[in-house]
């Protein structure tokens, strides 16, 4: 059983994605249950695989019995296992949040939603678990296609935004594919481990540089790294709440993961990848600041959060670029933490919009009284985004800062601090409206309009996670993240 875990994690949601529309036709109410069960099962499988890996070392699975490097291989190591657990955690929360009547209410549409959502999860899990460069491309496109369909389901503005995302996303994927082509031409293999061993011999080839550049650009677009972030704000803003919640939480993170995987596990440390990392470092400093500044300028809270994501992706890539153990721990912890925090924030904002139709910050007046629990969750997650203790966001920032101090990268230190200050500005603006302003006179006090339980519960779970994992961050760091660092840096 354990031997089959890697493939089970991917196959469970995939099978459910196929089954859900059929089930929805016959038993409309069962579709939701099937989706939940499949994701929960994938979650259990991920956690089981992760704990097995932590105890006994990397788990490899030869797909279809074809031995690597010819066959496709699925690899669960602490990094991919941790990512798998993260993705399934958020996925379970979001699918519960979306509820049985997701996407407009009718059973058929709800079945469609769940099917696409499962497909998206499949794609992301595949990206994380595969040990094959081309297979990664395929999963990248599976997840993207599912994401396009989901994002487009939010009205005409969402459709236009999605078409743009589709164009940009395809450019990104094609760049990645070409990069993989170059790497294949240089090494004659697509298996990541095999490729890593063979690449050391060809570091000086000009084609290798081209390969790194193409791959990095492709993945950086997908990860919405400034200035390649143009697709993100519109796509996040106009999509239905659960979709944005999930995509904002994990999709860009998975691309960041792929970037990390390629630059730290596939390409050799010296040569083109080192230069690429240096460049990424400078770009991400700009990303951190630009994202925060743009977020401050927004009136629409969804766009504000979207731009804040652009800045936060900068944090993660900054950690990768610094490359010291502390910085990498910070980047990976932030990858995890930001997924939880931003997922929570988008679920809150989406829920508020669903309940009251409000999405402008200036209309949030009195929201603290109308939806006290929801806004409390927003406050906690926002404080974590700013990076105040004892939340998860503080500790990831701590590691990033100490990595930057160790590396004597003072500019990066300054950027991180400045970005926190900007974060204070744009989040406290929301707090001021929600708690200190009263709604326009004449309307009276609006009634209490708390979200239904199935929407509130996932929000509160994620909020609790922000605090609990903050206090227990040493368990996460020592137990998982340290083991997920690339060979030379792992304990």
């Amino acid at each position: 059983m354990t031997a089959h875990l890697p493939v089970l994690i991917v196959v469970l949601p995939l099978a459910a994605a196929v089954a859900v529309p059929l089930v929805a036709l016959a038993f409309p109410k069962a579709a939701f249950a099937v989706a939940c069960l499949a994701l929960a099962a994938a979650g259990v499988a991920s956690c089981a695989a992760l704990s097995h890996v932590l105890a006994h070392g990397t788990l490899r699975y030869e797909l279809g019995g074809w031995a690597p490097p010819w066959g496709i291989e699925y690899v669960v190591d602490p990094l991919s296992g941790g990512m798998g657990a993260l993705i399934t955690l958020i996925a379970v929360c979001v699918v519960v949040y979306a509820g049985p009547r997701a996407n407009g209410g009718s059973a058929a549409r709800s079945g469609m939603f769940h099917s696409l959502f499962l497909l998206l999860v499949t794609g992301l899990l595949g990206i994380v678990l595969t040990g094959d460069m081309f297979n990664l491309y395929v999963f990248l496109e599976i997840s993207s296609l599912a994401a396009y369909a989901l994002l487009a389901s939010g009205g005409i503005r969402g459709t236009v935004a999605t078409f743009r995302y589709l164009i940009v996303g395809t450019i990104a994927a094609t760049f990645y594919l070409l990069g993989t082509g170059y790497l294949y031409a240089l090494t004659g293999t697509l298996n990541m481990a095999d490729m890593a061993a063979r690449l050391t011999a060809v570091v000086d080839a000009r084609a290798y540089g081209v390969a790194v550049v193409l791959t990095v650009i492709g993945l950086a677009i997908k990860a919405a790294l400034f200035p390649l972030h143009g697709w993100l704000p519109d796509a996040y803003t106009y999509a239905p709440a659960p979709v944005t919640g999930f995509i904002a939480a994990v999709m860009a993170k998975v691309s960041a993961y792929a970037l990390f995987r390629v630059l730290y596990f596939v390409t050799p440390a010296e040569g083109a990848s080192a230069q690429a990392l240096m460049l990424l470092g400078w770009v991400s400093v700009i990303a951190v600041l630009a994202g925060s500044i743009l977020a401050m300028a927004q009136q629409d809270i969804r766009r504000m959060l979207a731009y804040s994501s652009v800045g936060q992706m900068g944090y993660i890539v900054l950690g990768f670029a610094l490359g010291t153990p502390a910085a990498l721990i910070g980047a990976l912890l932030h990858l995890f933490g930001h997924a939880v925090m931003k997922g929570c924030l988008f679920l809150v904002v989406g829920g508020i919009q669903w309940r009251t139709g409000i999405y402008k910050i200036s209309d949030y007046a009195g929201m603290g009284r109308r939806m006290p629990l929801t806004m409390a969750a927003f406050v906690v997650a926002a404080l974590a985004m700013i990076g105040l203790p004892p939340t998860l966001g503080f500790f990831s920032k701590w590691y990033l800062l100490s990595g930057a101090v160790e590396a004597r990268a003072w500019l990066f230190v300054a950027a991180l601090v400045l970005s926190s200050l900007l974060g204070i500005v744009y989040f406290f603006r929301v707090f001021e409206f929600a708690y200190l302003k009263t709604p326009e006179a004449g309307q009276g006090t609006p009634p209490r309009q708390e979200l239904p339980l199935h929407m509130l519960a996932p929000i509160l779970v994620l909020t609790a996670a922000v605090l609990v994992f903050g206090l227990l961050n040493q368990q996460v760091v020592g137990g998982i993240i340290r083991h997920a660092l690339p060979g030379a840096l792992a304990p």
């Binding site: 203790p389 500790f395 100490s402 101090v405 200050l421 406290f428 040493q474």
Partner: protein
């Protein structure tokens, strides 16, 4: 016993939850505040014998960062602050209830809940055993105070709230940087009397870290030019100004300053860096300039705020002088100033509730109308000016002695000059109140007992402590023992670590 510090932190945090849940029943809500305040005070007091006997009560909990756990420790210095804050919380609670109800304030549930969280954070700061624990509660205090500052929801209050956050959270980020640097230089160290950074890095690097950390704690301690938020924050209801802006928040800043100087860096390292002079000069300038500013303020609360700015720097100056008497004086002044300033703020609140006036010329004749309030006010003001037999004299005497011990007599002059300035800005108030000509006839008309009883109590305590500094909770003894341990630790650090 080793859990007591954690319990003291948690009790008001739990109370905050209970307060929020009893939103609709004000009496139950207030009962929670009292229960928590009493339990907290008893917990803190019960630690006193052990600590006085030379023991340390400590426990570590979840590891937060490599080597740095959530470390709560009741040592001599921490206990001074904890005793002060938890004791005054009881009085402030009585006063708050009287004030908020008499003033018909809204959002009282949020007010009392935030207040309780503030006290948790204050206990956490007092009992923090290492920098990360300190920082955690320090930021928590900032956040919990924010709702209190903006309590009125007016434009002015919101603007003051922004200013408050800009100063304190901004400074917090610099403190964070200092922490990261300390964590890199000396991973996992706890606070130690005499400091632990000696010889860990070149002096230039340590100097930079010190400046960052000092700005971090200095913003809350309102060292000029980081004081701007304090007068602005006076828009908050008066009990908030009383406990938080005379005791908890600003004292957390000075407490952090003392911790930083004497438990992280150590006085010898400070001297080696030359930072003691810089700090002392900054504090001395703050003492004088803030006193002068206070002279120019016509609003009672703002005058008190500038007086606070000035008095806080006594403590900072004492820390910078770094002789035993000066440090003991600084630590004792945390207590002394706490009792005196809270008396003055209580008086301001009682006056405001009764008359809705806070401009000093409007106070004419009020002293004869509210003799208890103004009697207490007079005692507090005399104490702050350093009149013998008042508690302020004890701390100032020690500070002055400390200045002489350190061979820097010029700072004795600063204390004297400041005393004169204190008289200069308090005397007109007292004179106007007692001898000014009011517009209408005077009759005895105090505010309700929930307002005047606490202020009378604090005034009496500050008088008693002025005569018997060791009365009751042995604050004076605690301060001296703590100062001696700091100095002994500094000697050891010098002998053990050597110069870099």
């Amino acid at each position: 016993m080793s859990r007591y510090p954690l319990l003291a932190v948690l009790v008001s945090l739990l109370a905050a939850g209970a307060i929020l849940l009893s939103d609709r029943r004000p009496n139950v809500r207030e009962a929670w505040t009292f229960v928590a305040a009493a339990v907290k005070f008893l917990l803190v007091v019960s630690m006193l014998p052990t600590v006085l006997a030379g023991g340390v009560i400590e426990a570590t909990y979840a590891e937060l960062l490599p080597g740095w756990s959530l470390h709560l420790r009741a040592d001599l210095f921490g206990l001074i602050f904890a005793l002060l804050a938890s004791g005054l919380w009881i009085l402030t609670s009585i006063y708050s209830i009287g004030y908020m109800r008499a003033g018909h304030y809204t959002h009282q549930t949020g007010y009392f809940a935030s207040f309780a969280v503030c006290l948790s954070a204050t206990m956490g700061i007092a009992f923090a055993g290492n920098l990360i624990t300190f920082f955690l509660f320090y930021e928590m205090l900032t956040l919990a105070t924010y709702p209190l500052v903006v309590h009125d929801r007016t434009e002015e209050a919101v603007a003051a709230g922004r200013k408050y956050l800009a100063y304190t959270l901004g400074a917090g980020q610099l403190l964070l940087l200092a922490l990261v640097a300390v964590a890199v230089l000396a991973p996992g160290e706890s606070f130690q009397p005499g400091g632990f950074l000696m010889g860990k890095a070149p002096l230039g690097v340590l100097g930079l870290v010190f400046v960052l950390g000092l700005i971090g704690v200095g913003a809350k301690a309102a060292i000029m030019p980081l004081h701007g938020w304090l007068p602005a924050a006076m828009v908050a209801p008066t009990p908030v100004s009383a406990l938080l802006h005379a005791v908890a928040v600003v004292k957390a800043g000075t407490f952090g300053c003392l911790r930083l100087v004497h438990y992280v860096f150590g006085v010898d390292l400070l001297r080696a860096m030359g930072a003691d002079t810089v700090l002392a000069v900054a504090a001395a300038l703050t003492i004088l300039l803030a006193s002068v500013r206070a002279l120019g303020e016509q609003n009672l609360k703002r005058r008190l705020a500038y007086s606070t700015v000035s008095q806080l720097s006594y403590i900072v100056l004492g820390a910078a002088l770094g002789s035993t008497a000066a440090v003991a004086g600084a630590m004792f002044h945390i207590v002394a100033h706490g009792f005196m300033k809270i008396t003055l703020f209580f008086c301001a609140g009682a006056i405001y509730i009764k008359t809705h006036k806070l401009e000093i010329p409007d106070l004419a004749g009020l002293g004869r109308q509210m003799p208890i309030t103004f009697g207490a006010f007079t005692l507090g003001a005399l104490g702050l000016a350093g009149t013998p037999l008042c508690v302020g004299f004890v701390s100032k005497w020690n500070l002055g002695m400390g200045a002489l011990q350190s061979g820097q007599a010029v700072f004795l002059a600063v204390f004297v000059a400041s005393g004169i300035l204190n008289f200069a800005y308090f005397f007109p108030i007292i004179y106007t109140a007692f001898f000014g000509r009011p517009g209408q006839a005077i009759r005895f008309d105090e505010a309700n007992p929930a307002l005047w009883a606490p202020l009378a109590a604090t005034a009496v305590v500050s008088l008693i402590l002025g005569i018997y500094p060791n009365a009751g909770l042995q604050f004076y003894h605690l301060a001296w023992t703590a100062a001696e341990s700091v100095m002994a630790g500094a000697g050891q650090a010098l002998a053990g670590g050597g110069m870099p």
